[in-house]
């Protein structure tokens, strides 16, 4: 049984923002994290704002220079979007490996971004797309790069009266490679042990852009900037890839938990960054 709580069910975004501004509740998106947290006593809030009726936050738009996903869009809706595999291949792979059928039908991209979990599966791919999020409050909205959105374990720059309303990014450049790998106990319905997303773009046979994001190996999902810097302007050789993977691993701070030891996470981070960088380098043109 869930502990007793109060629930408001606004039908429009302005209505929801008003309730949020009045401090009358925390946002409830798909509930796939919030309800288990309430049952387990991790969530102490007893007033929530159900976002499920706000259809204006449920959309995917593909424009020439921008893809925008409304925060209330479910993981299943992103997976079913026919253009997503081309526009954001790593994100498509991530939503394909996300939990099980029923959870994909309920969980939302906004919820996955806001829960602040270090194992949130959409975050590494969105980080390597250099995505930005729109934060909206009753008086207006601001956009924030996703790289910088997370401050610490389950802590973000979002203020209590702000709602994450959308996430957007530029479509994958033709010829660029976007990869995601989720290491977990099983292929489905499992929490990530080590997650790696990599993006490589090539110009004149050299790496023009490299982005690497890692999940489940630090208090937050993060971009491995020092490793990325080592690759920029270079031809990727096995030796360079090895050193960049080491730099990425050095930036991680994994813990022992019931899914994996910290040491296994370090070893798999090194191995997976190597593997994905080398695959991406060969794939990019």
């Amino acid at each position: 049984m869930l502990p007793a709580f109060e629930l408001s069910q606004p039908k429009t975004l302005p209505e929801a923002l008003k309730v949020l501004a009045a401090g009358r509740g925390l946002p409830l998106a798909g509930g796939t994290v919030l309800f288990p947290d309430l049952r387990g006593g991790k969530e102490k809030g007893r007033e929530f704002i159900d976002l499920s009726g706000i259809d204006e936050l449920r959309y995917i738009t593909h424009e020439a220079k921008r893809i925008t996903v409304g925060a209330r869009t479910t993981i299943a809706e992103i997976l079913r979007d026919p253009a997503m595999a081309g526009a954001a291949p790593a994100l498509h792979k991530a939503v394909d490996n996300f939990a099980g059928t029923m959870v994909r039908n309920a969980a939302t991209v906004g919820g996955n971004l806001c829960c602040g979990s270090p194992s949130a599966d959409t975050v590494p791919a969105l980080l390597t797309l250099d995505a930005e999020v729109e934060l909206t409050r009753a008086s207006g909205s601001r956009t924030v790069p996703l790289d910088g959105y997370y401050l610490d374990y389950k802590k973000t720059v979002k203020k209590p009266d702000e709602l994450l309303t959308s996430v957007f990014w530029a479509p994958a450049e033709p010829g660029s490679a976007h990869l995601f790998f989720k290491l977990a106990r099983r292929k489905g319905d499992a929490v990530t042990v080590t997650g790696v997303s990599v993006m490589i773009a090539k110009t004149d046979g050299k790496c023009s852009t490299a982005r690497i994001a890692l999940s489940s190996v630090a208090p937050t999902v993060f971009r491995a900037h020092s490793a990325e810097e080592m690759l920029k302007g270079q031809k990727l050789t096995p030796d360079l890839i090895e050193r960049a993977a080491q730099a990425a691993t050095d930036q991680s701070s994994p813990i022992d938990d019931n899914r994996s030891s910290a040491n296994y996470r370090r070893l798999t981070t090194q191995a997976l960054v190597c593997r994905l960088l080398s695959q991406a380098w060969h794939q990019a043109s």
Binding site: L7, T32, M102, G188
Partner: protein, 162 residues
């Protein structure tokens, strides 16, 4: 705290009115009025025993609030088919021995129903992915996958002769 509300929804085609406080899950509300074919398992979205179709979409009813079902169509395993008029999936689970203790079976068939609605000709990998949110602690899954595959074949045959 926690005011109550009357929620009106359709369950297996019948109009149902539920009196529920905000924190009452759809799972608890359905079982409370007798839809005990919806099973309670892990209550955290891992096992899929409580799956129902909500407007043709499989959801864990333990992660859905009764209030969120207002005005919507819920289908439980009994709405999928009855002993007198079983669904091809139900027949296939019997045929292959896809059920042992049977506790996970309603949720398995609900998830499989959504899968076959979207993909009438699934591969083994498609079936595994479609059922990845459902846990079975008896069978080892092989016969469950066989059942879904058999149901898909049977439905295709019926489609061809129709």
């Amino acid at each position: 705290m926690s005011s109550e509300k009357i929620v009106t929804l359709r369950v297996n085609g019948d109009e149902v009115k539920l009196i529920a406080p905000a924190h009452r899950t759809l799972l608890e509300a359905l079982r409370h009025v007798g839809y005990v074919e919806v099973k309670c398992g892990c209550e955290k979205g891992d096992c899929g025993a409580c799956a129902v179709l909500l407007d043709d979409m499989a959801v864990d009813s333990c992660l859905t609030l009764a209030w969120q079902a207002e005005g919507r169509e819920v289908t439980t395993i009994k709405g999928i088919g009855t002993p007198a008029d079983p669904d091809p999936l139900q027949e296939a689970f019997i045929e292959t021995g896809g059920a042992q203790c049977g506790y996970c079976t309603p949720g398995m068939i609900i998830a499989a129903r959504e899968l076959l609605n979207e993909n009438p000709n699934p591969t083994l990998d498609d079936i595994k992915k479609g059922l990845s949110g459902n846990l079975c602690r008896c069978t080892g899954y092989t016969r469950i996958f066989e059942a879904v595959s058999l149901a898909a074949q049977e439905m295709q045959k019926v489609g061809e002769t129709a």
